[in-house]
């Protein structure tokens, strides 16, 4: 127990220190390398154990994401019409959806290597894009770019682009479609169904 506490404190301090001190590109690099080191050694995750991948994401990756910011951008203009309770529900459901997707992506990891491109930034910059290139054996390289902005808690990711497709912008189209069909509650309902559905699918596979 004592050992566990020491470990936990150490981990929290590392995370905290990493978030405060690191430049955005160094942060993306250290988090990505940490996570991939674990996935490379973890046969369960490679075999498709989504629950374990979710735990890894929750511990290592999600502290560096600003889900409220992501949700606000994805909902777009309708965000201001949403009540605080609706905003919270949207953020929670969107977070769940993104965590599931990210964890799924981790289970699909197969020996890809990642090139990190240095960021040219000024000291005063508060919004940067960190560009990476994923080299996959037998496939074309894929660009993955992280948009981060500087918050009181350090640099936080608010968007990811895969192959020049921004996740947030892509969801903005789907969300607008849902909102015009069923209002904000309609969107919350669709997200809940989607999350519940994949939860059931995940459970039945295990």
């Amino acid at each position: 127990m004592k050992y566990f506490l020491a470990l936990l404190t150490g981990l929290l301090m590392t995370l905290g220190a990493a978030a405060q001190a690191l430049s955005p590109d160094a942060l993306v690099k250290s988090v990505t390398n940490d996570v991939l080191d674990i996935v490379r050694k973890d046969k369960d995750i490679q075999a498709g154990n989504t629950r374990k991948a979710v735990e890894l994401a929750e511990a290592k990756v999600l502290p560096h994401f600003d889900f409220a910011h992501m949700t606000r951008l994805a909902v777009g203009k309708a965000w201001r019409q949403a009540s605080p309770a609706q905003q919270q529900a949207l953020t929670d459901e969107f977070r769940t959806l993104l965590v599931r997707t990210y964890s799924k992506a981790l289970t699909e990891y197969r020996n890809q290597t990642i090139d990190f491109k240095p960021v040219k930034m000024q000291a005063a910059d508060t919004d940067v894009v960190v560009r990476t290139l994923v080299q996959q054996p037998g496939g074309k390289p894929v660009e993955i770019d992280y948009s981060l902005d500087k918050t009181d808690q350090g640099w936080k990711v608010y968007d990811i682009s895969v192959a020049a497709v921004s996740l947030v912008t892509n969801y903005r189209g789907s969300f607008a479609q849902e909102i015009s069909a069923g209002g904000i509650d309609g969107l919350i309902g669709t997200l809940r169904t989607k999350n519940g559905g994949s939860e059931a699918a995940v459970a039945s596979k295990q």
Partner: protein, 225 residues
Amino acid sequence: MAAAATVLTGGCATTANGKDPIEGFNRAMFAFNEGLDSAVIRPVAKGYEFVTPDFVRTGVSNFFGNIADALIAVNNLLQGKGVEAASDAGRFVVNSTVGILGLFDVATEWGLEKHEEDFGQTFGRWGMDTGAYVVLPLFGPRNVRDGVGLVFDMAADPVGHVSDPSTRNALTALRLVNDRAGLLPADKIIDEAALDKYSYLRDAYLQRRRNLVFDGRPPKDPDFE
């Protein structure tokens, strides 16, 4: 299948998506392509992935990528990007020789970055409007501009000019299956991510093409806070 497409469009026909005026047709074609993919192309790609080691698929990707580099050079030239065009031509020369007929991508290791250009992007660079979104049978998502670009891409494609029909068909099939195999990991991720797969892929396609025309740096969306 067609009925499902009609039901789906019924709910969405009124939404303001100016880029997708023929959504009903597109959804039907999308369903057709999905059916074809799950019945034939994906199973074949899975079999191919299963029987080939990674280095073989890398070699195949490099081989077709090298052929593409020649056309990418032409398109960069047409877009007035001389430095990029020279680099692409350099890639083609290096990889065709040192890289043994393009099987090894030596040029990337030497620092000549791979670009992605085609006639659709060239027309976009020249100021041609994208036109409506359209899902083509077999080829999948395009917009009108990229559909016209596709005709030029195919006319210029060296594989299409191989004189022996059986070699030509084998190369075409190999390229298709190899490309599809490279996308297999993305299947489950898209299923996990998309609320509506049709519009998710449509929006991704439109966004990606826009970004490519601007070489990854499009003007910022004014709506984006």
